[in-house]
C-alpha cells in the first residue's frame, strides 16, 4: 500500500525455528517473513503454533534451533521487556491492563515520568499521554479509569501503550475478538494511518472478512509447520481455510427457512429486567435455530441469562409447551429442560480441573447416575462414552482433564452435558467463540443435527456470517428491545444491521407488526 521499495524489504524474518515442549513438538522448521510497511495476517487452527511463535518472538520462550532477524540483524529476545527494547511490541488477546489505574498510568506503567527519585510526575504523565493520544487520533481521556472504559476503548489503550514504545514490529493477537463492526473499522483505520508507514504488523485473526480488508498477505501455519503465504488480494476465503484445515470446507450452506408447521416450544412475553431488557417477546419452535443478533450491549446475552434464571426477571411470562413456568434460578431452568451454554465456557460451562466424564455427567448426576445417594460411575461412563462417540469429541480418554481439550471439544463436552440431561431447549451464547475454523464447522453441523432431531436452539452470536448461515429466523435487538424478527429469506447483512442500529421506539412495539409472532 505504501511505496514499492519498502514493500520488498524484509523487516522481520523467522527461519528454520524448532521448539519442543516435554512430549510435544510445537514448531518445526517454522518460517515467516514480515515486510516493512505491510500487514501480514497469520492464520492457523488452535494448536497450530501461533501462540508458541508469538511467545518466541516476545521472549517468553526461547527457540531450540533457528534464526530470527530484525532489519537484517539476527536477534534472540530473552524477555518481553527485551523484545520491546528491540522494537517488537505485542498486544495480547487478553489485555494486560490494570483496571484500577487511569489510561495514562496504564500507558506508561513501569516507566512513569518522575520528579526526583521518588515522586511521580502525574502532570507530565498526563501531558505525554494526551500528546500520544492526539497523535494517534484516539478520543480518550488520559485520566479515565481503564476498568470503566468499554472493551473497545480498552483495546485502544492497549494499542496506544504498544505504540508508545515506537516499535518496528507490532503483533496483534485477535485484536477484534471483543469489538463490533464499527469498532473494527476504527481499529483498521488506526492501523493504516498510524502504524503502517513506520512498521510492519502481524495480525492474528480467525475472521476471514477482516483479513480480507486489512491484510496485504496471509501466512498459513498448521500443526506447527509453515504451509504457505498468499497475497490476500488474489486468494479466496475458501482457499485460505482449506490451507488451514488441510481440506476443503463448504461455507455456503443456508438453512431452509421458517418451519411454520412446528409447535411452539418456548414462548417469551413482555420480559423486563431492571438492568436492560424492555418488553422482550418472541417464540421458539421445535427443531428451530433462532438466531439473536445485535450490537454489543443490545441485550442478547441478557435474554439468554434471564431465560435460564441466571439473572433476575422483573416482569414477563415464560411459557413452555403452552404452560406458564416460573424460572427463578438455573436449577429451575434445567429441571424444565432448558440448558444454557455460556460464551465463557471456562468460567461458566466447565469444571476445568475435572475430567470429561465428570463434566458430561454433572448435570444429570442425580436424575440418572445415582442410586441411594451414591454415584454409579459405570453408568456415567457409558453415557459419557456414547456422547464422545456421537458428538465426535476428540479426547484421548474419558479421564482427560477438560482444560487440556481444544475449544471446540470443550464446547462439545458442554453440549453433551445438556444432552445427557435430556434438555430440549438449548441456549447457546456465542457457540463458536474461541473455536478455530475447522472445529466451527463441526459445531455448526452438530447444531443442525440437533435441530433436525427436534431440539430447539437459541443461538446468540456477534458474528453475522454465523447468524446468517445457521438461523431459521433471526431476532434482532437494539438497546434491550427486540426491534425485528427476520425470516431466513429476508435476513441479510444489511437488514440485520438496519434493525440492530434502529433506535427502538419509546412506545411498546406492536408485536405483530414487527413479525415477532409468527402465527400459533
Amino acid at each position: 500500500m505504501t511505496g514499492v521499495t519498502t514493500m520488498t524489504e524484509p523487516l522481520l524474518e523467522v527461519e528454520g525455528v524448532d521448539k519442543s515442549f516435554p512430549g510435544v513438538r510445537a514448531l518445526h522448521d517454522m518460517r515467516l517473513e514480515l515486510r516493512a510497511g505491510e500487514v501480514l495476517a497469520l492464520v492457523g487452527e488452535n494448536g497450530a503454533g501461533k501462540s508458541t511463535l508469538m511467545k518466541l518472538l516476545s521472549g517468553i520462550h526461547t527457540a531450540d534451533t533457528g534464526m530470527f532477524r530484525l532489519g537484517g540483524e539476527s536477534f534472540e529476545a530473552t524477555s518481553p521487556r527485551h523484545a520491546q527494547e528491540l522494537g517488537i511490541s505485542i498486544i495480547h488477546q487478553e489485555f494486560n491492563l490494570v483496571p484500577h489505574l487511569t489510561v495514562a498510568q496504564n500507558v506508561f506503567i513501569g516507566r512513569e515520568p518522575r520528579r526526583g527519585r521518588l515522586l511521580l510526575d502525574e502532570r507530565r504523565l498526563n501531558a505525554d499521554t494526551t500528546r500520544l493520544l492526539e497523535r494517534l487520533g484516539l478520543p480518550l481521556d488520559p485520566r479515565a479509569v481503564v476498568g470503566e472504559l468499554t472493551v473497545a476503548n480498552q483495546q485502544m489503550v492497549e494499542i496506544a501503550k504498544a505504540l508508545s514504545y515506537e516499535p518496528r514490529v507490532l503483533i496483534m493477537d485477535e485484536p477484534t475478538a471483543a469489538l463490533n463492526d464499527a469498532e473494527v473499522a476504527t481499529l483498521h483505520e488506526l492501523i493504516r494511518r498510524f502504524v503502517l508507514p513506520h512498521t510492519g504488523v502481524i495480525y492474528i485473526s480467525h475472521r476471514m472478512e477482516e483479513i480480507k480488508r486489512i491484510a496485504d498477505r496471509v501466512t498459513v501455519i498448521r500443526d506447527g509447520e509453515y504451509i504457505d503465504t498468499l497475497d490476500v488480494a488474489s486468494a479466496t476465503t475458501a482457499e485460505i481455510i482449506a490451507l488451514m484445515v488441510g481440506r476443503a470446507i463448504d461455507t455456503g450452506a443456508r438453512p431452509q427457512g421458517v418451519r411454520a408447521d412446528r409447535d411452539v416450544v418456548l414462548g417469551i412475553d413482555g420480559l423486563n429486567t431492571k438492568a436492560l431488557l424492555k418488553n422482550v417477546t418472541f417464540d421458539l419452535r421445535e427443531g428451530e435455530i433462532l438466531g439473536f443478533a445485535g450490537l454489543m450491549g443490545a441485550g442478547r446475552t441478557e435474554v439468554g441469562r434471564a431465560l435460564v434464571g441466571a439473572d433476575r426477571i422483573d416482569s414477563g411470562t415464560i411459557t413452555l409447551h403452552g404452560k406458564p413456568v416460573r424460572i427463578g434460578n438455573p436449577a429451575d431452568a434445567a429441571r424444565h429442560g432448558i440448558g444454557y451454554l455460556s460464551e465463557d465456557r471456562k468460567r461458566f460451562g466447565l469444571l476445568l480441573d475435572q475430567d470429561v466424564r465428570a463434566n458430561i455427567a454433572l448435570g444429570a448426576l442425580r436424575d440418572q447416575f445415582t442410586r441411594g445417594g451414591f454415584v454409579r460411575d459405570r453408568d456415567a461412563r457409558a453415557t459419557a462414552q456414547s456422547y464422545v462417540g456421537t458428538l465426535r469429541i476428540k479426547t484421548p480418554s474419558l479421564e482427560q482433564t477438560a482444560k487440556h481439550l481444544s475449544g471446540g471439544n470443550q464446547q462439545k463436552v458442554v453440549i453433551a452435558k445438556w444432552l445427557a440431561k435430556n434438555c430440549d431447549v438449548l441456549v447457546f451464547d456465542e457457540p463458536t467463540r474461541g473455536i478455530d475454523v475447522g472445529a466451527k464447522e463441526e459445531i455448526y453441523q452438530l447444531l443442525n443435527e440437533l435441530a433436525a432431531q427436534g431440539k430447539s436452539i437459541i443461538m446468540i452470536s456477534s458474528e453475522l456470517p454465523e447468524i446468517l448461515r445457521m438461523s431459521h429466523r433471526v431476532v434482532v435487538m437494539s438497546e434491550g428491545r427486540v426491534t425485528r424478527v427476520l425470516d431466513a429469506d429476508e435476513a441479510n447483512q444489511e437488514t440485520i444491521m438496519h434493525y440492530a442500529t434502529l433506535r427502538p421506539d419509546e412506545n411498546p412495539d406492536d408485536a405483530a407488526e414487527l413479525g415477532i409472532r409468527t402465527g400459533s
Binding site: 515442549f21 488452535n46 501462540s51 438455573p330 436449577a331 431452568a333 461458566f348 476445568l352 465428570a358 482433564t401
Partner: protein, 333 residues
Amino acid sequence: MAAVKTQAPERAQGGGIAGALKGSLQQLLAFASLIVIAAFFSFASPYFFSYGNFTAILFSTVVIGTLAIGTTFVIIAGGIDLSIGTGMALCAVMSGVFLVKLGLPLWLGVPAAVLFGGLIGLVNGINVALLKIPPFIATLAMMLVAEGLALVLSDSTPIYFTEAPGYTEISTGNLIPGVNFPNAVLVLLVVALIAGVLLRKSVLGRYTYSIGSNEEATALSGIDVRRWKIAIYAFAGLFIGLAGVLISARLGSAQPATGMGYELQAIAAVVIGGTSLSGGKGSIVGTLIGALIISVLNNGLQIMSIPQEWQNVILGCVILVAVYTDRIRKKEL
C-alpha cells in the same frame, strides 16, 4: 480466549493412564514422605519404634484428624472453616450438658452432641450460601460465637464426666479385646473410611468437587449450589461434633477453653495432604496422611528431646517443603 491458550503443549499432557497414575502417585509420594520421616526417627531415637509409641501417635492424631476430615470437604468445595476448633469445644461442652447436666443416657447424648456439630455447620452453611457472607468471615464469626457459648454453657469451668460412666471408654477404652488399641483410633479409621467413600462415590462428594472446581458452572448446570453448600458445611459439622466427643472422652472432661488453634492445625493437615486451598482437589487419604505427618513430627521431635523452640521451626519448614514439593510435582508430571 481459548484460541490462544489451548495450544499444543497442553494437548499432549495427561492422558487417561497418565492421569490415573498421577492421582495415585500424589498420594504415594505423601505416604512415602511419611515413611521417610518415620524411618528417620526410628534410627534417631531408640524410643520411637515401638507399638506403644505408634498407638500414642495414632491417639494424638485422632482429634486433629477428625476435624481435618470434615474440613477436607469444606476446602475441596472452595470454602474454609475456622470455627472447627472452638466449635469442637462447644460440642464437648454440649456433650457435658447432655450427659452430665441433663443426665441423658450415652446412646442419646453422644449422637446429640455429634448432631450439635452438624447444627454449627448448618449455620455456617446458611451464612455462606444464603447470606453470601465470605466463608472466612462467616466461620471466623462462628469461631467467636462458639468460643463464647462454650464458656457460657459451662460457666467457664470444665465439665467432668464422672457421672456419665462409660463415656471415656469412647476414646480410651479398648474394643479389641486383649490389645492396647484405643477406641478413638478405631473411630477415626472408621469415619475416615466412610468419609473417603462418600467423597469419592456419593452425590454429595461429587458436587463437593464440582462446586470447588467451578461454582458458577455447577450452578448453571442446573445444580442447586446453595443447598449443596449448606449440606457440605452441615456434613463437615458432624465431624466437629465427633471431635468434641472424642476429645472430651479422652480428657474425661469438657474443657471449654480448649480448641482455639486446632482449626489451623487441621487446615495444615489438609494442605499437607495435597488438598488445594483454592478448591476442587483433594482426598481423605491425603488428609489422614497429612495429619499423621504432623503428629509423627511432634512425637518424634519430642522423643528426640529436641528443644521445643526448634520443634516449631522444623514443623513450619516441613509444611513449606511438603506444599512446595507438591507444587513442583504437579507442574512436572
